[in-house]
Amino acid sequence: MSSDKSTNASPTAGKTLNLEQQRVRAAYMFLAPMLIMLLIVAAWPLFRSISFSFTDATANTIFNGQSEWIGFDNYVEKKIRSNGTIRWKGVLVDGDWWNAVWNTVRFSIVSVALETILGLLVALVLNAEFKGRGLVRAAVLIPWAIPTIVSARMWGWMLNDQFGIINEIMLTFHLIDKPIAWTASSDTAMIAVLMVDVWKTTPFMALLILAGLQMIPRDMYESARIDGIHPLRVFWRVTLPLLRPAILVAVIFRALDALRIFDLIYLLTPQSDSTITMSVLSYRELQQFGDYGEGSAMSTLLFLIITGFVLLYIKLGRVDLSGEKS
């Protein structure tokens, strides 16, 4: 960069920027539209929902500004009943909320774990050379391509206790002796949701991991083969370590998605206590009860919880999101 000054020298040298400064300025100009868009569509709504969470806003007052600042009452509030007993109100002391948090976390951990393992297996298969590979790769993506609302409805019928094909198949093979009410029974509702989510999202995981697999240089495998190393050992020593960055990033994407899951659960098992998640609960508060204060408090907590999880994960996994090391 030492040559910059000389190449950039001109009659008005005192005022013109050197090349480095010009590049920084150009970079900001190219970034500006995106930053402005992010401010409008992400930062502003986030700020609004955090500020609503400190007010008593309802569906009738959010637009006319008649809501009042009530501090942390939506989060926790001490209330004295008419008969003198004390009752704690607010999201932080709400059993339904913590039940939803537990459901969300449980769902996220199990679904992301299953999807990662299955996705890795699918990716390994798709990475192998075989006839019609392009066709199979496209076919695997189909569940991911179907809109969630369609697949949720489809699975809803397939899991139906009276006419569902899943029960029919299991009955025919004598795996069960009477139909299971998959989405209705509180024991199986979460299993049903997990089943559909894994079916739907494994292709996405497979695709991300496959991209990582194709980055691994072929000659590594070649030399391993020449040295006569067992394929399993190659997998543990070569493939997996080199895949690690791709898998870690894929898991972050999925975990972010899973922690805010709404559509599948809202459609497949509406209002079931055993599956209701943070997003569904805050939607109910906002849209159905019109309580924008408490609903926004839930959204804010949801945001904080997701942020916390991701930070923890990045720290524990030492994920390199900046791309500087690679």
Partner: protein, 418 residues
């Protein structure tokens, strides 16, 4: 491609030209179930011809809860695009501020309607919406199966439980393995509030929150009614009933796999359709009573039309609302969609009796209709209903004892309302 493009241009030009010449374009928003969109076109056609206005129907999802959330947002934002809203019977107290008071315009017309329905749409002396049709559920029973096993139509919940069990067991012993005794709506949603309100009210257990605002749900009769219902899933009802809404119950019923069903009138026409395996084999009657109580209860449903304060074509919109609530439109609706009219005299109408013989019969069901507590709980109704159906759902799925659940519910309602 080119011809398609030309056609599009031509159509657009036509539409633009038409709107420039004709008067107002009225926008009407409504949930769309079954043939609602087609039926609506037939019903408004005469009004369009008479006034020269055009009506556009904006179809919404079938779930009333989803509709309500969207409508409330539009109304709170003062949206001028929608002129008329088709509203559920329970919404009037919650949305009253956003609708035009129709009491002066429609006062005379309302005298021909059932007073209880007009009352449900009146909030603080303001007529919020005009009734379009009403809804009240009934007990559907399989005439052929009851006859075959020498059973009579039950009049109490206890009888229903016993009869359903007996017929179900006899049928299964005869090889009919898919048969169930009773199907109803056990999903945790507004429909369960309706079902459970009927069990409780018809057993003398009150109506959750009484018209004067007192919370009455925590009583022994209500608890006993719920305990009885909790014995059904897995014995006379499939366990999946805990996730059933109207359509799932109708699915089991219409394939011939249920002896009894609790459902709304729409299932009558469909059940007698050509693709139904129970066509001509079933009857309907009023819902049973329980614990020696004398009157049965059927949750009052039904739809109304309200005029938005913020619409751009208020005058034409009010005219359309008046037309839709009047006898001509209600009669058409009854005949093509088997909806129950809200005008008393239409129950004696010969044309309706011929086309939809069930409608005159339904008058008895309708006379025992009980409103959901939307009037005393006002804008809190949705939360009250959610607390109620969640408590009921925990009882019928066996996760809680009725007495405990109702005591907890009373506390929650007290915190919410007082």
């Amino acid at each position: 491609m080119t011809s398609f493009f030309k056609a599009t241009v031509a159509a657009t030009a036509l539409a633009l030209g038409a709107s420039a010449v004709s008067a107002a374009e009225i926008t009407y928003v409504s949930g769309a179930v079954g043939n609602a969109v087609e039926d609506f076109k037939k019903i408004v056609a005469p009004w369009e011809a008479k006034t020269g206005h055009t009506v556009t129907l904006v179809p919404m999802p079938a779930s009333t809860t989803d509709q309500f959330g969207q409508y409330r947002l539009w109304l709170a934002a003062g949206n001028g695009d929608i002129d008329l809203y088709q509203t559920d019977v329970i919404w009037a107290p919650q949305l009253a501020d956003h609708f035009v008071d129709l009491s002066a315009t429609a006062g005379e017309l309302m005298k021909s309607h059932f007073p209880s329905i007009v009352e449900s749409q009146t909030v603080d002396g303001k007529l919020v919406a005009l009734p379009l049709f009403t809804d009240a559920p009934a007990l559907y029973y399989r005439k052929d199966l009851l006859e075959k096993h020498g059973a009579s139509v039950p009049t109490t919940w206890e009888e229903l439980t016993a009869t359903a069990k007996a017929v179900q067991d006899a049928e299964r012993a005869a090889g009919n393995n898919d048969i169930w005794g009773f199907v109803w709506q056990g999903n945790a949603y507004e429909g369960l509030t309706c079902d459970a309100l009927e069990w409780v009210k018809s057993s003398g257990g009150g109506q959750i929150v009484e018209p004067d605002g007192s919370i009455s749900i925590n009583n022994a009769k209500a608890a006993a009614a719920l305990e009885l219902a909790a014995t059904w899933p897995g014995s006379i009802s499939p366990e999946g009933v805990l996730a059933y809404q109207e359509e799932e119950a109708r699915g089991v019923w219409q394939t011939g796999n249920a002896v009894f069903m609790r459902n709304w009138p729409y299932a009558y026409g469909l059940g007698n359709g050509s693709d139904s395996s129970v066509a001509g084999k079933f009857g309907v009657t009023t819902l049973p009573t329980g614990q020696g109580h004398d009157t049965s209860a059927a949750t009052l449903g039904g739809w109304n039309v309200a005029v938005s304060k913020y619409g751009d074509n208020q005058e034409a919109a009010i005219d359309l609302a008046m037309y839709l609530a009047d006898a001509e439109a209600q009669k058409t609706r009854s005949i093509i969609a088997s909806n129950l009219p809200t005008i008393v005299s239409l129950y004696e109408d010969a044309d309706i009796a011929r086309e939809q013989p069930i409608i005159p019969q339904w008058k008895d069901v309708f006379l025992q209709a009980v409103p959901r507590p939307s009037a005393p709980t006002r804008e809190k109704y949705n939360e009250v209903s959610t607390l109620f159906f969640s408590a009921v759902h925990s009882v019928i799925s066996g996760n809680a004892k009725a007495a405990d659940a109702l005591a907890g519910l009373e506390d929650d309602l007290d915190d919410l309302l007082n």
